[in-house]
């Protein structure tokens, strides 16, 4: 058995499931994942369906598309309407609904120029091919994606590309976790920490979880055994009353993270406040361009501002993103809000919580 087979081995997984049951010791615990890839992996592998009823695993604000604020969506849709602008974006954003049901997909059908790219570097190619146009890359994503975007901006500077810009909508995970825990409505007893984000930021930013809030947390990989071990570790720490930050994804995540990636990130960007959908402004949870790279800031260069926009009526994304309400309890879920008629981005993005529930959850009765 090779290592990746072992991580999917049903016998090994069943063993850990049994140990989770023991560690729960009759109590009931509420855990949360804050990574869209974990959300999908928990469903796809069937782990969700196998967990004991006493483990409630909630989905947090872990999908970068879902936490993109409606004002941010409105801003890039406004740019897309300009005849001299080409929007370069990851595909996930194409169907995200903005004010009045507008989306990039619909804008494209009406003549807006939108290029779906697989990597920010591809956006530079677009800029090179269209020297007379302004190419705006939508910089959405957490600490995982942001360094690549930062590195792309550096390449753009080195190439002297004057028609490439980024809308810096990046978000940072630790300030969001902190904001969640400061909300009295929250009662999370363990965090499954994102694997890819942690590979960049390391464990240090999570220290307050254990030290300030007394909550166990585990950096987890994405295979079934990774997920189950993380849940077991959280349950055991909870039972022992010894909360720590555990790195259980050492094959990818170094405890100190990736200092080189962070160096690039913080050469191009610096922390700033950011708007989170359903949550509002979280101080220090976003990235703004540093002085030396201001020329690449689409906001400044193209004179765009974030305008106040009303949340979509009836949408309970905020409570869903905070794990206060499972998607299936939102009154719009699977009725007014479906993948065909998404009211919020959580129903659109591949890794959105509502989309994942809609796609994978067989039994949508309360409690599931």
């Amino acid at each position: 058995m090779n290592s990746s087979e072992a991580l999917r081995d049903p016998e090994l997984c069943r063993g850990v499931l049994g140990r989770i049951e023991e560690a729960m010791h009759g109590q009931s615990l509420r855990f949360m994942e804050v990574c869209g890839t974990h959300t999908v992996a928990l469903f796809r592998s069937g782990v969700h369906s196998l967990l004991p009823k006493s483990v409630v695993h909630l989905t947090g604000p872990g999908c970068p598309v879902c936490v993109t604020h409606e004002s941010e969506v409105a801003a890039y849709l406004e740019l897309a309407e300009r005849s001299d602008v080409i929007i370069a974006t990851f595909g996930d954003l194409m169907r995200v609904p903005g004010p009045g049901g507008a989306s990039l997909k619909k804008a494209q059908a009406e003549g807006a120029r939108v290029e779906v790219v697989y990597s920010p570097i591809d956006a530079l190619e677009v800029a090179g091919k269209h020297p007379g146009d302004k190419v705006v890359f939508l910089g959405i994503g957490f600490e995982t994606t942001a360094p690549t975007v930062a590195a792309t901006v550096r390449v753009a500077r080195d190439r002297g590309l004057a028609n490439f810009f980024v809308m810096p909508f990046h978000k940072l995970v630790p300030p969001a976790i902190d904001a969640l825990l400061s909300d009295p409505a929250m009662c999370i007893e363990g965090f499954m920490l994102p694997g890819h984000v942690s590979a960049i930021i390391g464990l240090e930013p999570y220290r307050p979880l254990a030290e300030k809030y007394g909550i166990p947390s585990v950096v987890a990989g994405f295979e079934p055994l990774d997920l189950l071990q993380a849940i077991l570790l959280m349950a055991e720490m909870k039972r022992q009353g010894k909360p720590r930050v555990v790195n259980n994804y050492k094959r990818v995540v170094a405890d100190e993270g990736n200092p080189k990636a962070r160096a690039v990130l913080y050469e191009v960007y610096q922390p700033g406040d950011a708007l989170w959908r359903g949550i509002g402004t979280i101080p220090g949870s976003g990235l703004v361009f540093s002085e030396a790279y201001k020329a690449f800031d689409a906001f400044e260069a193209l004179n765009v501002t974030l305008k106040e926009s009303k949340p979509l009526p009836g949408c309970r994304c905020g409570e869903v993103l905070k794990g206060i309400m499972p998607p299936s309890e939102c009154p719009l879920f699977a009725k007014a809000c479906t993948p065909a008629t998404p009211v919020g981005p959580c129903m659109v993005s591949t890794e959105g919580s509502c989309a994942a529930y809609h796609k994978y959850q067989l039994d949508l009765s309360p409690g599931h």
Binding site: R8, P10, R14, S49, G91, L93, Y118, G141, T144, L362
Partner: protein, 334 residues
Amino acid sequence: MGKKLLLDQGSGGLASHRLVADVFFRHLGNTILARMDDAALIRPKGPLAVSTDSFTVDPIFFPGGDIGSLSVHGTVNDVAMLGARPLYLTCGFILEEGFDLDDLERIVASMAMAAKKAGVKVIAGDTKVVPRGAADKIFINTTGIGEVVVSPAPSGHRARPGDVVIVSGSIGDHGLTVLSQRQGLSFEAPVHSDCASLNHLTLKLVKGLPAVHVLRDPTRGGLATTVNEIALQSGVGVTLEETTILVKPVVAAGCEILGLDPLYLANEGKIICILPEKHAAKALTIMRRDPLGREARVIGRVTAENPGKVVMRTGLGGHRLMGMLEGEQLPRIC
């Protein structure tokens, strides 16, 4: 640089005639086509299965095939899924001004080869040349006509509880090949489209096993979408076993990189066969004897529970819903 197609070659005048004679007739010619009347005359013996499909694939050449062979396989397969013997094709070409004539010839030759292998004749055709930019290089429409050889014909409405679901081989090959070519991505191992005409295999199946309830080729939307369509059409549930579904390691790895699910990627040379469990062994024997069905396997069963839904039993013994996608799969952020 080869010669480029001119608007004149779609004008209906002499230039058009030369193009038809030099390219289309040379490769696709047969006695019915050669009559050059306004319509082809055929004399069917009984009920006919008819299907039409348009092909706009980008890129037009890809490992394992091209738009020409695909336009034959795709339509032949649709006719074959009714348990019919495909006999004839018609084809309409929409060509962009400036299209490379060597490429056109390659595509038509590839169609001819695919048609010969499938045993079908091209009996009517049309060519239009549109100004540069009005079409993307080449679009092909084909219509297939076949004689129905079993009654009742296999249909998506006929899946019944107690039936098993068989698939003829690996999943996602065509979709990943085309997507990776489009994006200019290459993987450690080569990926190839599985595109092939399945009519010889389906004919053996329906002749050997009239009890076949459903035959479908999981093209756009992939295995997941097609099985969902069958569950809805038949008003039954389907439970699939994840570990029995074959996805080639290179396809699985490519999908992981791109954030795609192979179960939703197009296949162009695979069959889903649904029939009563007692006939499963014979169906597998028939399929595995054919080069296109060598890796046939049972992947699930039809249930009375969860009507209209497809449930995936995961390798761990858990389950999840396997629904339909709203639109095309989009690569993910993160």
